[in-house]
Symmetry: C2
Subunit: 177 residues, 2 copies
DNA sequence: CAAATATGTCAGCTATGTTGACATAATTTG
DNA sequence: CAAATTATGTCAACATAGCTGACATATTTG
């Protein structure tokens, strides 16, 4: 390779027409989702930089605050990560007093997770700018429009997905290793 | 600490009421966005696992296909990552024949990026399931509803953001290091 | 009691981002 | 033209957040 990379095309088939418009693919919404999510997540990122936490902590703090007393297994299922991956961030959050563990009242093997005051405050601080951004994007939209937005977003989610306040009944399947 | 972590609450202030409903924060859409994006990105992830590529490659292949001939600087600006971070994945994509570089016709310092046939095919293969998911989520929605969705997503994006086919004129500001 | 379950933990690996420093070629400017 | 700036590449070191595999401990269940 030359010093600054290949200069000439390697006589490969090079395409210079933009992708899109031709095929029946919705590139517009694909990209809107990419940019929307990127900016949506950047709000809390800025706050997290201050606290020394990252996105992983954000998610944990969020869901523990949304469903206090949820088990580690339920949290893993929501986040779709492994317990080893969760362990690091959870330990940090517990050690710094944002989340507390309590042995399950029925099943004492469980560690039920609760937010502390601090944890609640952090979760709210992180949610606030995101909610503001959402309110701004919904501004001037009528009820039909808002319904369309939530219908669309719900329709993007996998049917069997485990979301809070849903199917708590089924037996565990996978991802726990 | 005990072998399996703290068992009893450290007499900290523990909260057992779910967050939400109380404050004026839109937790519903916050979570819908999280789950929607998580599942939206999982479709191409499965394909990428096969090719040995990751999400970073996906983004590069996507934008190069959407705007063939874009410069490295423009790509960095779109992705909002550093050139060192881009370098790794871009090199892999070039070495394996998905993307080709051509010296800029006007400014020969530039390396304009083009997809090869292979690169075009990969980008289409990755976009197809995402587009299918979107079509599914929009199904049965009238024109007003669809407009509401794109209006909402556009409204979530930072105003000054650099998106393809937009402001090519301004001078560089930051992120290049 | 034995097996299964919920959780924790150690060790090592990968992907993708970061900063800092420096190099080269080409363009622009004084 | 020489100097400065620009576009890009590259080396090195590091951080975060995932992953797999293996094993330990406490508790519940059959």
């Amino acid at each position: 390779m030359n010093r600054a990379g290949a200069i000439k095309p390697e006589s490969d088939q090079i395409l210079d027409r933009p992708m899109g418009d031709n095929d029946g693919i919705d590139f517009e919404i694909i990209e809107l989702l990419f940019f929307a999510y990127r900016d949506f997540i950047s709000d809390p990122d800025a706050i997290l930089d201050t606290s020394g936490f990252g996105r992983a902590h954000h998610r944990v703090v969020h869901f523990v605050n949304r469903e206090p007393g949820l088990t580690v297994a339920a949290l893993l299922d929501t986040l779709k990560i492994t317990k080893q991956s969760l362990a690091r961030v959870l330990k940090q959050l517990i050690d710094s007093g944002y989340i507390a563990q309590v042995a399950g009242p029925e099943d004492r093997r469980q560690r039920r997770l609760f937010p502390t005051d601090r944890g609640r405050e952090l979760a709210l601080a992180l949610a606030r700018p995101q909610s503001r951004r959402i309110a701004n994007a919904l501004e001037g939209m009528d009820e039909n429009g808002r319904t369309a937005v939530t219908t669309f977003l719900s329709g993007m989610i996998n049917p069997g997905a485990h979301r809070p306040e849903e199917d708590h009944s089924e037996i565990n399947e996978g991802r726990d290793q």
